[in-house]
Symmetry: C2
Subunit: 444 residues, 2 copies
């Protein structure tokens, strides 16, 4: 990390000046999915609004099957400004054909009417069951309520976070404050996601050559800031932030149809507008990186059935593509993930996964070791393809914590990559095997 000093503050997306939020219950979840059924009437529609027009940037799933709200956002963010985001949970509005697109647009039109903001300034997100049309009567009721209940205090922010959760067991939110050119600036964020998590997002939804194959959650993330940032610069900052956070996590290796990250920057902090050449840009980037990385890690920690979180750190690869491919192969191997669940320091499965990855790997060059998160004090289990003298007991102790780092050195080059990964547990299987007594789970 850098020397930028920032402090955490409460309020998530309403922590920055000029942002309002609300989260309401309109019974979409019960209609949309059996599993996340709305016992206790969990909120399912959120609204985030800036009091003034903001610059906007967005990144979206590169899945070829992509939900209507993603298509709407990808198109609208091109204008570089937006003022509100409406989000429902319980129904992904994915694979819903022309009606799905109509419904996504109707959501934005309703918000526009309620808030007296131009329709094109409204963005939309959905998460939940795939393949079922939105219950628009409920959605309308929700939007009317959410528009009336907007507020800028912590409870309002919390209600908005709750309203985007599906299989999430914990709310995921953060806000930080830091100095930028003498001004106090805040960045706030909230996100959701627990399963169908290995985002591979790009700015257009089109798959760039640079994105590794096999990228694969619905994860939704909404970031607000009162910094003044020029739209193109905001876009570049978001790309860097996502590349090092959401695009580096995996729960189950499945990439969703709905992954979306949006950032609104309304400029009310009064800093000199950040452009590509601004001296303060780096500080803003560091702060944004922190927000996205913390949110991304919350997703992995709260992944469906997840017991252990492992940061897979590959170094010494021939190319950056190799480093990425090696890290993903290990992070998504069923056998490696089940060994993590068992606390088993099984290097055989790790080197096996490295060997079948597309990355160049040479057996007698591979080092494998363990450390505490972020620590450089590594206990090596394998060096140059040969077991070290570390005892099984020592290695088990290293693989026992709820979070640890797995270090892999290929010793073939200088490229490195990391993945924030999770174990594979009976609880994941149990949660996802579905409930065939409940037809509302179909497609979701």
């Amino acid at each position: 990390m850098s020397k930028l000093k920032f402090t955490e503050v409460p309020g998530a997306v309403v922590a920055p000046q000029g942002f309002l939020a609300s989260g309401v219950f309109c019974d979409i979840k019960r209609l949309g999915t059996g599993k996340g059924s709305n016992k206790g009437q969990k909120r399912d529609l959120a609204l985030i609004v800036s009091e003034v027009p903001a610059t906007v940037a967005g990144m979206f799933t590169t899945n070829q099957i992509c939900a209507a709200p993603v298509k709407v956002c990808a198109e609208r963010v091109k204008a570089g400004t937006a003022q509100a985001i409406v989000v429902n949970s319980g129904n992904a509005n994915a694979c819903t054909g022309k009606q799905g697109m109509k419904d996504a647009l109707a959501m934005t039109a309703l918000v526009a009417k309620q808030l007296h903001i131009p329709d094109a300034q409204i963005l939309v997100g959905s998460t939940g069951r795939i393949g079922v049309n939105l219950p628009m009567a409920n959605v309308r009721e929700g939007i009317l309520g959410a528009a009336q209940l907007l507020g800028n205090d912590v409870p309002h922010a919390d209600e908005a976070v709750e309203a985007i959760m599906t299989s999430d067991t914990r709310s995921k939110k953060i806000a930080i404050e830091f100095k930028l050119g003498g001004r106090t600036v805040r960045i706030g964020g909230m996100c959701k996601g627990a399963g169908m998590i290995q985002p591979g997002m790009s700015a257009t939804g089109a798959r760039p050559a640079a994105l590794p194959q096999g990228l694969h959650a619905t994860m939704l993330c909404f970031i607000t800031t009162d910094a003044a940032v020029e739209a193109r610069t905001l876009h570049a900052c978001l790309q860097e932030a996502v590349a090092n956070s959401f695009n580096r996590i995996t729960v189950d290796g499945d990439m969703s149809t709905n992954d979306t990250v949006l950032v609104l920057a309304n400029g009310l902090a009064g800093n000199a507008r950040l452009g590509r050449k601004s001296a303060e840009l780096k500080a803003f980037q560091v702060a944004l990186n922190h927000v996205t990385l913390e949110l991304a890690k919350m997703i992995v920690r709260d992944g469906e059935g997840v017991h252990r979180v492992v940061t897979v750190r590959v170094a010494g690869a021939k190319t950056i593509q190799d480093a990425d491919a090696a890290a993903r192969a290990v992070a998504n191997s069923a056998l490696v993930k089940t060994s993590w669940h068992g606390g088993d320091p099984n290097w055989g499965r790790i080197i096996d996964a490295l060997g079948y990855s597309p990355a160049k790997v040479v057996e007698n060059k591979v080092d494998i070791g363990y450390s505490a998160p972020g620590s450089s004090k590594v206990l090596w289990s394998l060096k140059r393809g040969q077991p070290t003298k570390a005892t099984f007991k020592e290695l088990c102790a290293a693989a026992a914590p709820k979070e640890f780092d797995l270090h892999i050195r290929l010793n073939l080059g200088k490229a490195s990559a990391l993945m924030y990964a999770a174990d594979l547990t009976e609880a994941y299987v149990d949660y996802n095997k579905g409930d065939v007594t409940d037809p509302t789970t179909l497609g979701g």
Copy 2:
């Protein structure tokens, strides 16, 4: 299938004329792995011998981390002839450095000495724990015993099959008899494999461009035949057979360091030696295909924790690579596999996996449906991206059997591919999470 008539016969690898087998207990398993520990003294060393020199062909894992016995075989099969195969279970002799290679060669030398066959005519296989040197005292004892106990009856064949099993719960064997140019010919086979199963084998162990990325059992398969087949022709036949069987199965998407298929053809049936232009070649190919496919399906059915077996049939892809990639993405998706476990006809997860696969997919062209194995009577759940009128109850009934076919039509071209796949169950996770109270599981 073709019109070739064949009948199943007993005896597996000793069913063809001139083959002998044995399987003995030499306590490698207890020393090699805790999980497969040798309670009840399960056999762990097998020997298969032809009374006369045979032509040979082999295919091997394309994992860059590849076990010593694989390297020995890949080199020796080039000569085109072999006479015996020695195999141990309980220890993979993988990631075992120079000592591993010495041990693999020592195994062949011991067999050569016992059987008075030239060393170069002996092939070797290993399966089990990775990263531990073979207990050679035990192996020696095993080879001496196995060489003395060779026999050509059913019990001997069964003992050999038992001796190569690891996490397998059932023995996997077959033998068929058919007519070839007026002669009675037999092909016999045995195999093992249950986890670390998604073979991607080539003749040399080198990764051919044609093999899809992300290929990933130890599966071992040994085939014997009394047909007379020219070595190059045998090799071509094996390539076709493996491409349509072992290279089309997946249990967990992990490709092993030890995958090996070997076929010995000793010519004792007395048919005119088959060459590339022989009129009878097609009949032999059909028979070999049948043997490898039946053995491959046995592996999926007996996969670790497997409750359901699903044949994923992709048609209408733009290219064969697309068809293969689409089938593998669905077959290896954690969310799709858990839905199969639950008997949940969840097309949303299937279309999601298709969408993130490298294959070209267009949402409003995709059809998804279910049938009984091999049946063309398909119940469609999705047509052109839209849910059909099939009821949830009907779809659940289609996804309820222990085995069913999943039909996917991309409607973009003419290429097709299939994968024999398995569900992901709590039992798989439980089996593979390891036992950290037992240091002998390390690396395996």
